[in-house]
Amino acid sequence: MPMPSPSILPWLLLAIPLLAAALCAVVPKARTLLLCAWGGVWLAAGTGAVTAAHVFGQGTLVAAAGWLRVDALSAYHLIVMDLVFAASSLYAHVYFGEELASGRLAPSQARRLAVLWCSALAAMTGVLVSNNLGMMWVSMEATTLFTAFLISLHPSDESLEAMWKYILICSIGVAFAFLGTLLFSAAYSQAGIEAGEPMLWTTLQAHAASLDPSLVKLAFVFILVGYGTKAGLAPVHNWLPDAHSQAPAPVSAIFSGFMLNAALYCIMRYLPIAEIATANVGWARHLIGGIGLLSIGVAAAFILFQGDLKRLLAYHSVEHLGIIAVGLGLGGLGTFAALFHTLNHSLCKALAFFAAGRLGQRYGSHDMERINGALRVSSVWGVAILASLLALVGVAPFALFMSEFQIVWAAVQAGAYTTLILFLLGAGIVFAGALSHVIPLVFGPAPSDVRSLRATSLEWALVGVPLLVLLGLGIDMPAPLQSALHQAAVLIDPGNTLAAPLVAVGGLP
């Protein structure tokens, strides 16, 4: 049998979720159409795995006259996205299956959920595979529009309010990013280079050195504010705690687990261009690192006094996206660690939202005053919330500890001691604040009116597999992952020479 050309893969990545969405729109029965959605996601995730394997093995994939392009950075994010979506779909099968059986989820709502779920996957894939920066923007805005109605899947005063804030703040924010996109391509037109299309990332990247620095600086600020809004970086994070706390748990998991990273991915794309255009003095990296530190600080303050479990997790997202930004700001080993942290945070945060959602269904609330003794109500989800919260505050030996440690190491190497001190201070406050929430949440007696939960083997797998992966990655990083991270990091930080220090960190206990 002749092998089809691998350049069909980017097309398949976009087509599968779109077809699944279309299928979900016409299938009559609620239960069947939900299964179609989860199946579609798994099929897309499989294609994503094949694509990533191809990219890391044989190099960049290009299709559609250079408009679609999957390089190591996109492929790495593709893997993270597919892991989050595949796990969240299994979890959604459990979560919404129960709601459908109890009548809390009407068939019409199930249809809306399934269609939007698959469309959101298609839009996020679009962000990752677009080489055209205009199309990348269009896809990013599409993710906002598709996911807005997922927040208010169960309409209530609060969820409508959260949805309104989400759509208004994110639309305005992402519009700023469009302004930045325009300015970048304007800088290209101004440079008077004839070759290539001005909206393609590859052309901008190739000619970055000849762009006007003042224009690029202005453009990058717009990009950072714009996509930063969607990524939940402070001070433009206001929509995030509301949206994450009101959306159903599986939706929160994909929001926190990947949608924020998709926005940060857009910033990663612009970072090398801005750096090269401003003569590699670290201007753009300082800017993003500063915003990262601010995010950690703001999140730490809110985590300390948080009463709602899902809002707590939402502020953890602000913190961890801030940590990734700090890593990017440091460059070198920091870039590598930031990408590693992306994977760790996404897995861990998805697991945390899974647990918060299942416990919330039992307790009928996400108020931490009410959620007590989670271990007694459900051993599996109690373990999940305990382990994921500990991992989120950076307890060893989870992988998040390793990536945060690498960022600290990168700060020491770079001599960025202010960053180091602020980072450790923020992480310390988060650690103390979150730990004071965890203990009553997990241990202690449960309220008498809460029935205990008998978990299925699927639920055990949903908790066990991510936890084992997080533990495994915390102890030792497999060589393929290391090589993938290197290939992706070099794209963000072209002058990256991190081979030597990495061995030292990898060898540390």
Binding site: N132, G134, M135, W137, V138, E141, A142, T144, L145, A148, F149, S152, P155, D157, E158, L160, E161, A162, M163, W164, K165, I167, L168, S171, I172, A175, F178, L179, L182, L183, S185, A186, A187, S189, Q190, E197, P198, M199, D212, S214, L215, L218, P241, D242, S245, Q246, F302, F305, Q306, G307, D308, R311
Partner: protein
Amino acid sequence: MVLVLLLICDIRLLAGSRLRALIQTVALQGVLLATLPLLLEGGGLSTAHVQSLAAGVALIKGWVIPRSLRRALRETDAQREVEPLFGFNLSLLVSLVILATSVWISHGVAFPGAVKYPLLTPVAFSTLLSGLYLVMARRQALTQVVGYLVFENGIYAFGVVVLHDQPLLVEMGVLFDLVVGVLVMGLVVFQLERRLGHSDAGRLDRLRG
């Protein structure tokens, strides 16, 4: 001439209190914007690409979006902006400040294309800032949607200044996002109204901390 009209639209948007008039003004502004690329550089740029884009923009910004906004308006009983955070006279003053700031910004940065059309950048910026002001300072959800549209109009005007050779597909994608965005926002306004009995975004304050 078109530029002066665009500016008058900005001022009218900030000083007006009746929602119906706001929607009319934003529609007018959209149509004016659509003619902008046709007027630049005379007939030299009037390729099929530019013409079809102008037609698309006029249709969407002048007809499709205002129509759905009017429908949303009929469903709500909000005909006027309720007690704005800043009074309408103060808003007039703000529009002057916005204009001055825009002129200042346009002088500060050397935008490509700004040499040829020195007035276009300040107009684009002042439209952009007016939209942002409407979103931030007004309480009625529908006025905020109008503000978002004005903001987008500003970006469009800015796009006309800095480059006129974007691929059609990208521009169509942007327009499509805009339409869907406004439709979604309109639907949220419906739901707010049906559920809460009002669409006063200033009273949406249950979620905090």
